[in-house]
């Protein structure tokens, strides 16, 4: 492979800047990762609560349809 001076120089500059900036970038990286975790947790909570809400809704609908409605019908027939 042929030696390409501009590529070499660019690589050297990028490497040196990375080494110099690493300590300063760490807090940013930590914050970025924390944000990702928070986002994931929030999504999981939303999902779980959504499922619970649907389950509550269905349970109530089922109870009304199968327990309360026949009871009302029976009460109406009696009167």
């Amino acid at each position: 492979m042929r030696f390409h001076l501009p590529s070499f120089l660019l690589g050297a500059v990028v490497g040196a800047s990375g080494a110099a900036l690493a300590p300063r970038l760490r807090p940013v990286a930590v914050e970025l990762a924390t944000g990702c975790y928070k986002l994931l947790d929030a999504a999981l909570v939303k999902l779980a609560r959504g499922r619970e809400d649907v389950s509550d809704l269905l349970a109530e609908a089922r109870a009304r349809a199968r327990t309360l409605a026949p009871a009302r019908a029976a009460a109406g027939g009696a009167s």
């Binding site: 501009p6 660019l10 914050e31 779980a48 349970a59």
Partner: protein
């Protein structure tokens, strides 16, 4: 029933039909062990069929059997008011001010003698939480970086980078990314530094409070105060929580920071009406206010988020924070440039297709043209200009919290200012004294008062009556000397003591000689104070219309004194009459009148006048009464209508509201919400509004204004947190310095953007012209090189030029005016055509290399022609533009660099192109400079 002490237990849903109940328990989230424990514990309850606790959702589902006893409990719980089930951050409003002290003590289960026990205080602290206000969250690092990167110019650059990457042109992509990164890094660094500075100020403000616990006086950190704590307050105490007064001895509080009322408010134990407004709740002490005089005890009734300050803070948070105009205008400009670039790229692409060129090559050139249309230097240029302005302002004690604010300062058209503490010093000063000379009063200016010199022949004859008047004033005053040696008490009485010291009296000696035995305080009807002293001395001090008739004066003298009082009051002065007598004597001996003023801050009048010259209208917003506000406006030489807060709704709803608002100079008796209404109404009518204030009551308006300015390092924490600009010195002239910097930023940005737009247009015209002719003059990398070199560094040089001396002698630029107006665009078109023409001619004569050299050189020379008139050449300008020119010269003259940029041609042709490109604009720059010099010399000659 599942209940976790100290945690928030909220009922999410209860359906009796399905016999299910779901709770939210905050502590459950992320705690599977607790979830299992809750399931075990709840499942043992009679009637409970199943329990499911989720550590993910933080909820518990309980299913119960029909007729289970638990169902009744759950039903009751479901019917309870939400405030009980879900402990709110702030308690429901209570009417502590209207309750008798015994009722307050009983409700809070405390004692007015021994306070709470340490154990009880700890338990309450755990239950209610700390006495801290929810701080406005500082933006995170990510948010700061995002705010620097997320704008349209950068998005366009991002798109260009993506296409470059797809085509495999990584060098082009890296160059664009480097510019974006540099811009973000500068902005991030500056904003972070400002946030750190403000955080440091806030941390220095946490105080302590004196309380009685278990019968003993102790000092506790203010955040540890709890409802029921017995506060001990005296003159100078800063109140750390809302408290109900249970013991008051001439107690008065300075509530200017909360209500805007500049005079201390007397405090008593007797309940006031339930519907009394905040400023009239005389039985309450509020957090953030301070005790002006007297001493007493008060029981804490609200802490942290439940205090009145917190409610004002919520109001501040609800107010809308307007988006920076610079962002809007930059976005508009970027869109315009993007559209023109897109059209040019499409046109050139079609022309190239007609000449049957390779489609990939055409796409590559189109990207280059698109990039040429975006001034890459624009974000970094704007950021640097703003940072430079921020740095210059910081050197003068003006802390600008947001970059865009630095520019917005230059567009201000209306400055609303609070009176007490902002326009005035919130510090009374004795201005005149009036003595009776025979039957007519003689007024002496306070400036003439001074201690008698040692060689004075008869000091008693000259200073006797004045000394007697001021000595009586001192003896009657309720002033305390703090450990620091400072005076604590109402600003009026402090002023009297200071004046007495000026004429050579020693207040401590006076008090030792005539110690006070009794004090008969003022009430609603009696507006004077009588003090009894040793050696049978009695002193009276108070409202002249009540005190003067009590004095032994013949009718003519009495009328003359009352007339004098009216004249002094009409001048906006606070007037007190002072008299004395032997205990047991019937009539009082009239000693004189003292007239005091809350003086304008040094420079306030100058600032108002200079603001008017700069096209900025000043409006005073104050909680004070009309007469005081009018007098202050007169002193500040502010002309216009004076209205009161209660007239605002009618004015703002009127059809001609805009015209009427334009005439208003003073709005008296305003509440925090009124200030917000005024600011928002002005903004609705197209004004750019600055709001200057220092108190908590100013915070909502500071937030709602285009530029919120917290005045003085002693301004309240909330005001500083909310403001965009913090003035370390309480001098309104600083605002004008900031305005001048803002205008300099606008001017420099306009010149810089005009330069960049003309340069880019020249590049577009050249590339499009070549495409129409079926030629490919400069490749994508070459165009990017030209674009980067001629945009960023010369653009920066123009943006960082020193400010113009005449910036405050002209009106502000209209807020809705685009950064570049029609005339500017005409100049851009003309200059862009010139740049393209010169480069095209070079191409015809010397080929691509001559065109490449010429188009760079033309723009460097053009930068010199774009400089502001009457400004000397700076080293920065020479270094940045000269450096760029040198780099370009190096690139065109060196073979390897030409190869890297994929430009073919020889060095002599390149040098010739460079020279040809530079000569035209340099000639224009020289001619402009010479003309200016001639005009300057001839005007100098005319004046001499």
């Amino acid at each position: 029933m599942v209940w976790i002490p100290g945690e928030s237990n909220a009922l999410a849903r209860h359906a009796r039909a399905s016999r299910r109940v779901r709770f939210e328990i905050a502590a459950l989230a992320g705690n599977p062990a607790l979830a299992r424990a809750v399931e075990r514990e709840a499942a043992q309850r009679p009637g409970v069929v199943s329990v499911t606790a989720s550590a993910v959702s933080g909820r518990v589902l309980i299913e119960y059997a029909p007729g289970a006893s638990v169902a009744e409990d759950l039903d009751r719980l479901a019917r309870r008011p939400p405030a009980f089930v879900r402990p709110a951050r702030a308690a429901a409003p209570a009417h502590w001010h209207a309750e008798a002290t015994d009722a307050v003590i009983a409700r809070l289960a405390t004692s007015a003698r021994d306070g709470l026990t340490e154990r009880e205080a700890r338990a309450r602290l755990e239950a209610t939480g700390g006495n801290v206000l929810a701080e406005e969250e500082s933006p995170s690092r990510l948010a700061l970086i995002a705010s620097q990167v997320a704008n349209l110019p950068n998005a366009l650059l991002g798109g260009s980078t993506l296409i470059s990457l797809l085509l495999g042109d990584w060098l082009e992509a890296s160059a664009i990314v480097a510019v974006v990164g540099m811009n973000a890094a500068i902005g991030y660094r500056v904003e972070r530094h400002s946030e750190d500075l403000l955080a440091a100020w806030r941390a220095a403000e946490l105080g302590r409070a004196d309380v009685i616990r278990s019968g003993a006086l102790c000092s506790v950190p203010a955040p540890e105060l709890v409802p029921g704590d017995l506060l001990v307050v005296s003159a100078g105490t800063v109140v750390s929580a809302d408290a109900r007064v249970v013991d008051a001895h001439r107690l008065a509080a300075d509530e200017a920071a909360l209500t805007g009322e500049s005079e201390p408010v007397d405090k008593t134990c007797a309940p006031v009406a339930r519907d009394a407004p905040l400023a009239e709740r005389r039985t309450m002490l509020y957090r953030g206010t301070s005790v002006a005089s007297g001493h007493g005890r008060a029981i804490v009734v609200a802490t942290g988020g439940a205090t009145e300050i917190a409610r004002v803070q919520e109001l501040a948070a609800e107010s809308r924070a307007p988006k920076a105009r610079l962002q809007r205008r930059l976005n508009a400009l970027a869109s315009r440039l993007a559209w023109s670039g897109l059209a040019a790229a499409a046109g050139a692409g079609l022309a190239s297709l007609a000449h049957r060129r390779n489609p990939v090559e055409i796409l590559r050139d189109s990207v280059a043209l698109g990039v040429a249309a975006i001034p890459e230097g624009l974000p970094v240029t704007a950021t640097s200009a703003l940072v430079r302005a921020m740095a210059r302002m910081r050197e003068r004690g003006i802390v600008v919290r947001r970059l865009a604010t630095a520019e917005a300062l230059g567009a201000i058209t209306v400055a609303c200012t609070d009176k007490t503490g902002t326009l005035t010093e919130n510090r009374m000063r004795l201005e005149r004294v009036s003595l009776l000379d025979g039957d007519s009063p003689r007024t002496i200016d306070a400036g003439e008062l001074h201690a008698p010199g040692p060689d004075s022949l008869d000091p008693r004859a000259v200073f006797g009556p004045i000394a007697a008047l001021l000595a009586a004033g001192v003896l009657n005053s309720d002033i305390e000397y703090l450990a620091s040696g400072e005076l604590a008490g109402s600003s009026t009485e402090r002023a009297l003591v200071e004046a007495a010291q000026r004429v050579g009296l020693d207040p401590r000696v006076l008090r030792e000689t005539w110690p006070r035995r009794r004090l008969v305080e003022r009430s609603d009807d009696i507006r004077y104070v009588v003090s009894e002293h040793a050696r049978d001395l009695e002193i009276i001090k108070g409202a002249p219309e009540q005190v003067v008739p009590l004095c032994a004066l013949d009718p003519r003298a009495r009328d003359a004194v009352l007339a004098e009082n009216a004249a002094l009051a009409g001048d906006g002065l606070r007037v007190l009459a002072i008299g004395s007598r032997r205990i047991g004597a019937r009539a009082w001996r009239y000693l004189g009148l003292v007239a005091l003023r809350d003086p304008l801050r040094a420079g306030s009048a100058t600032a108002v006048h200079a603001a008017a010259r700069a096209g900025i209208r000043t409006i005073i917003l104050t909680g004070d009464q009309r007469a005081t506000a009018e007098a202050i406006a007169r002193q500040a030489r502010l002309a216009g209508d004076v209205i009161e807060g209660h007239e605002l709704p009618e004015l703002l709803a009127a059809r001609d509201a805009a015209a009427r608002l334009r005439r208003v100079a003073v709005i008296a008796r305003v509440a925090p919400a009124d200030k917000v209404a005024v600011v928002e109404a002005l903004r609705r009518h197209g004004e750019v509004v600055a709001m200057a204030g220092d108190g908590i009551n100013d915070a909502p308006a500071l937030r709602a204004a285009d530029v919120g300015i917290a005045v003085g390092a002693r301004s309240t924490d909330l005001a500083r947190q909310t403001a965009d600009v913090v003035l370390e010195r309480a001098d309104l002239r600083s605002i004008l310095e900031a305005v001048a910097e803002g205008r300099a930023v606008q001017d420099n940005l306009r010149r810089s953007i005009r330069f960049q737009a003309a340069g880019n247009l020249g590049e577009i015209l050249l590339a499009t012209g070549a495409a129409l002719a079926g030629q490919r003059l400069i490749g994508s990398l070459g165009l990017l090189w030209i674009n980067l070199l001629t945009d960023t560094l010369p653009g920066l040089a123009l943006a960082l030029e020193p400010s113009d001396g005449a910036l405050l002698e002209r009106p502000p630029v209209h807020p809705d005016k685009p950064i570049l107006d029609r005339a500017d665009w005409r100049r851009v078109a003309r200059d862009g055509a010139m740049i393209a023409g010169v480069s095209g001619a070079a191409a015809i004569v010397g080929g691509p290399i001559a065109a490449f050299a010429a188009i760079g050189a033309t723009q460097f020379a053009y930068a010199a022609a774009c400089r502001a008139p009457d400004r000397p050449l700076t080293r920065r300008f020479a270094a940045l533009v000269g450096g760029s020119a040198a780099l370009h010269l190096l690139a065109v003259a060196s073979g390897p660099a030409r190869a890297l940029l994929r430009i073919s041609g020889s060095s002599p042709l390149a040098l010739a192109g460079f020279a040809a490109g530079a000569v035209g604009p340099l000639y224009i720059a020289w001619r402009r400079q010479a003309t200016r010099e001639i005009v300057r010399l001839s005007s100098q000659g005319a004046t001499t």
